[in-house]
Structures are given as structure tokens and as C-alpha cells.
């Protein structure tokens, strides 16, 4: 490995050489140990799977335009929504922000040359891609119809689709996320630059620390659960299926023990991004820094104790449901701490409405709606009415798309100049952000209503309730707008790669170690490991010392 790594410190200094053009062969990319290159590899892979998942989403919306369906057979519809769920959750949302931006920016933010285990990092990308290819094979070879939750006994006994391959693919995605988590934990613990104390860690890093803990502790449980389903399916041994002597509710316990914390894997990194965006575009230290940092850990810890709220109608004990309901309400506290602290940061801040800030503001509103509707689902009585309706669909899309995806887009727009050294058109960015916001709300707000009225999820037709059609048409219309809003960044960001103006080291005037290196960063991140002396998000410090820093920079160039 180390032979293929080109280490800049062994090369005479050249200003032009950064991680992107330091070695241009395909091999130098595919065998790289550089966390930034692996992040770019992840970015490509994730964008691809996001595209696949979006096509499936489009097909679902198209199908529901008419009460009798438009295009798909019932079986095909099952396969399409399963593909949408599995691709979006296991291959987009779980790795999205950690594997792309966490990978790229954690070492930069803490002042390290790389993650602790670069080869493990590369391996995680290969495992992820292998899993993705396996799922594509499962999809093209006939599809999977169990839904992303793989509920038994359907998945283990009855379904005659490619469940085994899909389970293996999900298992692979889980392995990849475990490797990422182990890597982040070791890196955050041991690779911080001198002076980078825990109290000076950017909140993005704190959020990823909490996320990594969930990845390492939660993912193995779903991995073993899926392996057991696979055993049951292959060898017909009874673990979960009642026909074979098992208990299907046990599967739900084990599955949701991971899959509820998994939504925090998806949204916590988004909250980390949010903290960075809010701090930078309000030019203030984040209000209640310590509270936000600790609330990430609190969400991670509480997240492990609430899985039962997915199982209120599953014959779970009602006493148990009550406890889970109470604990689920408690998760609202750390989430609200974050929202209130961000609002307090904006208050009297020097707010700059640039594209990433648009996404940050969208995140706050949409995530709040998603979180508050979660309270309906956490209380047992309303949940019994709302289980498996479009209300649930809308709720988690508000959290996952309105939260995680919005933060992902915000992160792309915020860090794009740093990652690729190019600036994109801010006005186009604003237009696309507005389109995403409007399109998203138009898609999912009607689903709250139609779900409340009783439209069940996963139905391909609803001709017994044709009055729902208006809502579905609104939703489909919104998804088209959303699609255009998502397609625009693809165009102007790709365009900026080639024709965009070059970015300076710190185009936003932001504060943080990642902005101290050049854009794009050199392979080893820092010519010299920085010594951190200032507090986190210290924008006053930044203002006072900017000139001084620039002087130092120019000296360095000479």
C-alpha cells in the first residue's frame, strides 16, 4: 500500500499539487489511502445510488397518480418501493454524510494527516460498493418484495424473490458502516492536533463521534439478525418463523434495536453539518456549544432504548409499550435542545443568506415538523391509528429528506469550494434550494393529510377511496419539482468543476482548521500539524487574526 501512496513530503514542494492532481492514474484512485480521495469515491458511489433510489421514488409517485394505478403491476410496485427503501437507507442515507463529509473533513477539522486506518477506510468503500452491486444484481435479477424491513416470515418463508442476495447486500452495507465507525472513533480519540481539546472540537466532529458509537454498537445486531434470517431462509431452521417454531416479534425487536438508532446514524451527522452552517453564516459561536455536543451523545444513548415504538401494534406487551413511549418522548429533549440553540445562534447573528444557509434554514423548519409529528407516533393511542399509513411515510421523509438530505445538500454547497477548489453560482444554488424546499413540502405535506385520513402505505392502488387522488396528485407534482431541484445542483456543480472560478483557501471567511489549508487540500492536509490556540467558532478571533494569518500564508508561499 504505502508504495502506491504518494507522499508529498517526499516530493519537492510544488504549489499546484493537491490531493486531486497528485497522481492521476486510475490505480492511484482505486488503491488510495487518502481519506479525501476515498470521500470522493464515496461521493460518486452515493450519488449513483441516490439516482437509482430517486428513479424508484419517481415510479412510486407516478403509480399513485390514479386510484387504479398508472404503470406498475402490484408485484412490481412491491419491488419498486422495496428498492427505493433499501437503496435510500442502506446505500444513501446511512453512509451519506459520514462517509463523504465525515471522511473528508474529520481529519481536516481535528488537524490530522489522515484517518487512523486508511486501508480500513478504503476497504469500507469496497465493501460498500460490493454490497451495492449485489443489491443491483438482486434488483435486476427479479427484485425483492419484502420492504426494506425484511419482516419475517415473509422474508424467510414465503417470498420467492431475491431476498437472500438483498440481505447479503444490506449486511455488506452494515459492515462498511461498522468499519467507518471504528475508524472515526479511533481518529477522534487519538489523532487530534495539539490544543484540539474535546471542548474545542467542532460540533460536526461531536455529531460524528456519537454517530460512530451507534454504528459500532448497533449495526452488528442487525447484521446478526439478517444472518439469522438468511440461515432460516436457506436451511429452513426455525429462528423467527412461527411455522418453524420461532417468534417473528423477536425479529422485530432485534431489527429495530438497530434500525431505530439507524435513523440517528442518518440524522445526527446532518445535525453536525447544521451546527457548522449556522455558526458560519451567522458569524457567531454556536449558542450552547456544550449542550449541543452532549445532546448528540444523549440522542445516541437514548436512541438505543426506544426501538419498541415501532412495535406498538405487533403484540408487544402494553406495559413495555408504555415504557418505550415514555422513553421516545424523552428523545425530543436533546433534539429540541439543538433546535433551540440553533435558533438562539441566529438571533442577533450577522446572518448571511447564501446557498448553504438556505439549506440550514430549511433543515430547521423541516426537521422540526418531522420531529413534532414523531410525537404523534410515539404516543401509543395515536400511533395505533396512524401505523402503516402515509402519515408515517411523511413523518420519516420529513426527518430523512427534510433533515438528512437537506443537510447533505447544505454540506455539499458549503464544502464544495474546499473539496474541489471551485466556486459554483450562488444564485443558481439559491434557486435550487428554494425548489427543493417547495417541492419537498408539496410532496410530503399532503401525505400527512392523506395518511391521517387513512391512506395505508405500500398500497399500489386506492380505488376504494378515490377522494385521496387530489392529495396524491399534489404529492406527485411536488416530487417533480423536488426532482428538478435535485437535478440542478448536479448540473451546476459538475459545471463548476471545469469552468467555475477558483476558490480561495477560505471563501466563506469561516473559522476552523479545515479552512487553513489550501483548496483543494494537499494530500497530507497540513504542511505542518497546526497547534490549536483559539476556541471553536471564535469568529471574533478570526476577524482579529485574519490579516495576521494571511501574512503568515504569504510568507509560507515564499
Amino acid at each position: 500500500m504505502s508504495k502506491t501512496l504518494i507522499q508529498p513530503r517526499e516530493i519537492p514542494e510544488q504549489e499546484e499539487l493537491n490531493y486531486l492532481n497528485n497522481g492521476t492514474s486510475l490505480k492511484s484512485w482505486l488503491l488510495t489511502g487518502d481519506h479525501k480521495r476515498i470521500a470522493v469515491l464515496y461521493l460518486i458511489g452515493i450519488s449513483f445510488f441516490f439516482f437509482i433510489g430517486s428513479i424508484a421514488a419517481g415510479l412510486i409517485r407516478l403509480q399513485l397518480m390514479r386510484p387504479t394505478g398508472v404503470l406498475l403491476e402490484n408485484d412490481t410496485y412491491n419491488k419498486v418501493f422495496t428498492a427505493h427503501g433499501i437503496v435510500m437507507i442502506f446505500f444513501f442515507l446511512v453512509p451519506s454524510i459520514p462517509a463523504v463529509f465525515g471522511n473528508f473533513f474529520i481529519p481536516l477539522m481535528i488537524g490530522a494527516r489522515d484517518l487512523a486506518f486508511p486501508r480500513l477506510n478504503l476497504l469500507s468503500w469496497y465493501v460498500y460498493m460490493l454490497g451495492g452491486v449485489m443489491f443491483l444484481a438482486a434488483m435486476l435479477g427479479g427484485g425483492v418484495d419484502t420492504g426494506w424491513t425484511f419482516y419475517v416470515p415473509l422474508s424467510s418463508m414465503y417470498s420467492n424473490t431475491n431476498v437472500s442476495l438483498a440481505i447479503l447486500a444490506a449486511f455488506m452495507a452494515g459492515m462498511s458502516s461498522i468499519l467507518t465507525g471504528v475508524n472515526f472513533i479511533a481518529t477522534i480519540h487519538k489523532m487530534r492536533a495539539p490544543g484540539m481539546t474535546w471542548g474545542r472540537l467542532p460540533l460536526f466532529v461531536w455529531a460524528h463521534y456519537a454517530t460512530s458509537i451507534i454504528m459500532v454498537l448497533g449495526t452488528p445486531v442487525v447484521a446478526i439478525t439478517l444472518v439469522l434470517v438468511l440461515f432460516e431462509r436457506t436451511f429452513k431452521i426455525g429462528i423467527f418463523s412461527p411455522e418453524l417454531g420461532g417468534d417473528p416479534v423477536l425479529f422485530q425487536h432485534m431489527f429495530w434495536f438497530y434500525s431505530h438508532p439507524a435513523v440517528y446514524i442518518m440524522v445526527l451527522p446532518g445535525m453536525g453539518v447544521q451546527s457548522e452552517l449556522i455558526a458560519n453564516f451567522c458569524r457567531k459561536k454556536v449558542f450552547g456549544y456544550h449542550f449541543i455536543a452532549i445532546s448528540s451523545l444523549a440522542i445516541a444513548a437514548l436512541g438505543f432504548l426506544v426501538w419498541g415504538h415501532h412495535m406498538y401494534v405487533s403484540s408487544q406487551s402494553m406495559y413495555q409499550s408504555t415504557v418505550f413511549s415514555l422513553l421516545s418522548f424523552l428523545v425530543a429533549i436533546p433534539s429540541a435542545i439543538k433546535i433551540f440553540n440553533w435558533s438562539a445562534t441566529i438571533y442577533k447573528g450577522d446572518v448571511r443568506l447564501q446557498t448553504p444557509m438556505y439549506y440550514a434554514l430549511a433543515f430547521m423548519g423541516l426537521f422540526t415538523i418531522g420531529g413534532l409529528t414523531g410525537l404523534y407516533l410515539a404516543s401509543i393511542a395515536t400511533d395505533v391509528h396512524l401505523t402503516a399509513t402515509y402519515f408515517v411515510v411523511a413523518h420519516f421523509h420529513y426527518v430523512m429528506v427534510g433533515g438528512a438530505l437537506t443537510a447533505y445538500l447544505g454540506a455539499i454547497h458549503y464544502w464544495w469550494p474546499k473539496m474541489f477548489g471551485r466556486l459554483y453560482s450562488d444564485s443558481l444554488g439559491k434557486v435550487s434550494a428554494l425548489l427543493v424546499f417547495v417541492g419537498f413540502n408539496l410532496t410530503f405535506m399532503p401525505q400527512f393529510i392523506v395518511g391521517w385520513l387513512g391512506m395505508p402505505r405500500r398500497y399500489s392502488v386506492y380505488y376504494l377511496a378515490p377522494e385521496f387522488q387530489a392529495y396524491h396528485i399534489m404529492s406527485t407534482l411536488g416530487s417533480t419539482v423536488l426532482g428538478i431541484g435535485l437535478f440542478m445542483p448536479l448540473c451546476y456543480l459538475t459545471y463548476s468543476l471545469f469552468k467555475g472560478p477558483r476558490a480561495s483557501a477560505n471563501p466563506w471567511g469561516a473559522h476552523g482548521l479545515e479552512w487553513l489549508t489550501s483548496s483543494p487540500p494537499v494530500t497530507e492536509n497540513f504542511k505542518q500539524i497546526p497547534i490549536v490556540t483559539d476556541e471553536v467558532y471564535d469568529f471574533d478571533y478570526e476577524r482579529d487574526h485574519r490579516e495576521h494569518a494571511e501574512e503568515a500564508d504569504s510568507e509560507e508561499v515564499e
Binding site: M157, V221, E243, H253, M254, F304, L305, Q316, M318, Y319
Partner: protein, 150 residues
């Protein structure tokens, strides 16, 4: 295991500053592990009631595990971070506790499909006939099991 207390014996022989522990501590740990293993086999023969035996067996296993973690895995001399991780390993206990608490607080019935004679069952196993004629009929056994539980 207070007899295993040993001075850390800071033999800073090289730049790693790694503590070399006396072999005697490992030997004592191994001895204790063997003794505990014999005890656990012996205790399993004594009728203490199902719960009693389980508690004894799991208590001994936990003690053995603790010995291995503390002395063989050097957690006793490790940093507090390593200790924290060793403790985090117990996170699966809430998983176990919460899940079993669910089963303890509701009526959990034997799966009706186990009964091959019940025509309402979803899928009777094809091969059930070959194993069905044991001493008791499956139906009786199923009922006996349900009664035994509640």
C-alpha cells in the same frame, strides 16, 4: 481475586513504556480459571432450582470473563478509555433486558402452527409425520409447555 494484586512493576525497558507484568499473575489467573471451570461443572450437578443453577453458572462465567478481561486483556492496567470500552460491551444487556421484559409482561402463546393436527395452522411441516410419534403426542407436549410457562 485480591490475591492477584501485583505491583505494576514498571519495567520501562524500552521507548514504548509498556508495562511488563510478571508471569505469576498470568499463572494465578489461569489457575483461578481452571478452578472456576471445575466449580461450574460441579455446581451444575447440584439441584438449586432452574434459576439458582442459572445464576450460579452465569455468575461463574461472568467472573471468569472478568478475570480474562482484567488480566489477560490488560484492562486492569489499561487507560480509562479502554476501561470505558470494556464497560460499553455491556450495552447488549439492555437489549436483552428490554426484550425479555416484553415477553415477561404479556401472554406469549406457543405458536399454534406447531400443532400438526390443527387444521387452522398456516403451514404444517411436511416431515412432521416422521418425528411426530414420540412418547407424547405433539399436541400434549405443546399444551404441557404452555402450562409450564404460565
Amino acid at each position: 481475586m485480591s490475591e492477584l494484586t501485583l505491583d505494576p512493576h514498571n519495567d520501562s525497558h524500552d521507548e514504548h513504556n509498556h508495562h511488563v507484568h510478571p508471569v505469576s499473575s498470568y499463572l494465578k489467573t489461569l489457575g483461578a480459571l481452571f478452578v472456576l471451570m471445575v466449580i461450574t461443572v460441579w455446581a451444575a450437578q447440584i439441584p438449586l432450582g432452574s434459576w439458582g443453577n442459572n445464576l450460579v453458572a452465569m455468575g461463574i462465567a461472568t467472573t471468569k470473563a472478568t478475570l480474562v478481561v482484567l488480566y489477560f486483556m490488560h484492562v486492569r492496567y489499561g487507560t480509562s478509555l479502554v476501561k470505558l470500552w470494556a464497560i460499553l460491551g455491556f450495552l447488549w444487556v439492555p437489549l436483552l433486558g428490554f426484550t425479555l421484559a416484553d415477553y415477561a409482561t404479556r401472554q406469549y402463546e406457543m405458536v399454534p402452527t406447531w400443532n400438526a393436527n390443527d387444521k387452522g395452522s398456516a403451514l404444517a411441516r411436511d416431515r412432521s409425520g416422521t418425528v411426530g410419534d414420540s412418547k407424547k403426542s405433539m399436541e400434549e407436549q405443546t399444551e404441557a409447555n404452555v402450562r409450564g410457562r404460565f
